[in-house]
Symmetry: D2
Subunit: 136 residues, 4 copies
């Protein structure tokens, strides 16, 4: 496994909240990451859809993992800020997400992530990550 | 309890993900809501701080509850989009949040929410909510 | 010229600030609009790049025009909120922009716009537009 | 005049686009800046209100000036990203703006700016600025 892939995998294994949600890594490329999540009952809001907080966490985590493909060993990324548009209710039992790097600088990485529910785009996320000089 | 307060309380009781996180309502006013959350281990990220997804969910939920103080019976609010700035790591065992209405229109309500950890501002949220004509 | 195209053209002809900046419409499709702008000296900031306000205005206007391809005669669109990431200095003498609809609803339209300078992506914009029942 | 004030004043004098718009500095404090702008006809949109691009430029410039109160000599600030909520049409002949620092870090400064038209809040802006090691 490449160094970049190890960094990405680490991000998924070591955050208890990500384990609680059940976010799974399904693909990693040069500047992108794909994930999926099974929507259990405890992740829903009052209408039965996946909660916006779940959708947002999935997007932010996947975007951060995508950003981590562009950093060096001994560095990690932190989300500085993001905006998200919730386009449709997150229906169904499974969410998928693809996060990509829009622009990688030395100290800041801008990312985008799309969340799909039942094959439809339900959220678009854009985030700014800071590259920090410490391992995760 | 006023109609507005009932609407706000309802929002907290009926969303499984909010119960999972343990978000508690601590105050309601004319155009604001205050909440708190105990940071259990499962809500943390890899460095031991509350996960950004937890902070964001708390902010969005509190802001939505604040927005719901301005609607009529039979209506509810949905988050359209938001941006959040994560200013500091969310350290400690308890987060508090205050959400307020910035501007309430007939169909859209703009809100702001601040999340504090150990008395320091750790996140500022600004969101746009849509007023929809159905009860929660 | 189709009704949609007339609406888009109108948006460019009737806003004095857009004329001042010199934004030109270069293409219109079903859910997208393309524009260009010559960066005169008065549109620059202190380092000689196009000012962030110019880049942002171009993005917002182009995104709004894209949104206006999806509305009916007698309606217009208003920007509710947007976020923009300024990825690189806007160098050179000409900016180009492509705005697209991400999701068109009955009352809200979410858009994205990319601004290019010298062939490189220098800004990405995501905006929420409200559809209002009045002609421009 | 203090070093910080000189830096702020400089930002207003040396950007041609800011001169074109006629943004004037009206106050500077430790972590805030206030500005005003006369809405001439060329700064309007098709309904006669100040164009969203004008409101946004005023907010971004004022927020950037506020951020520049917190940096050292030989540094300057660049906007990385921002979000803005356009709450009301910017009516009348004069806009005023107050920009403040929300959180100043060593390399990033988060700011907020409010724009008022006829005494009413018409836009709220939140931006992330990068501190760069060069004079303006």
């Amino acid at each position: 496994m490449s160094e970049a892939n190890e960094r990405v995998t680490d991000v998924f294994d070591r955050a208890p909240f990500i384990s609680l949600l059940g976010v799974e890594l399904t693909g990693v490329g040069d500047d992108w990451v794909e994930t999926t999540l099974t929507v259990t009952d405890q992740l829903r809001q009052q209408h039965g859809f996946a909660h916006a907080g779940v959708v947002t966490t999935l997007a932010d985590h996947t975007a951060g993992a995508a950003a981590s493909t562009a950093i060096s060993d001994g560095q990690s990324v932190l989300t500085v800020d993001f905006s998200i548009h919730l386009l449709r209710p997150a229906s169904g039992d499974r969410l998928t997400c693809r996060g990509e790097i829009v622009k990688a600088g030395r100290t800041l990485i801008v990312t985008q992530a799309d969340v799909l529910a039942e094959g439809k785009l339900c959220a678009r996320y854009t985030g700014t990550m800071a590259v920090v000089d410490r391992a995760i």
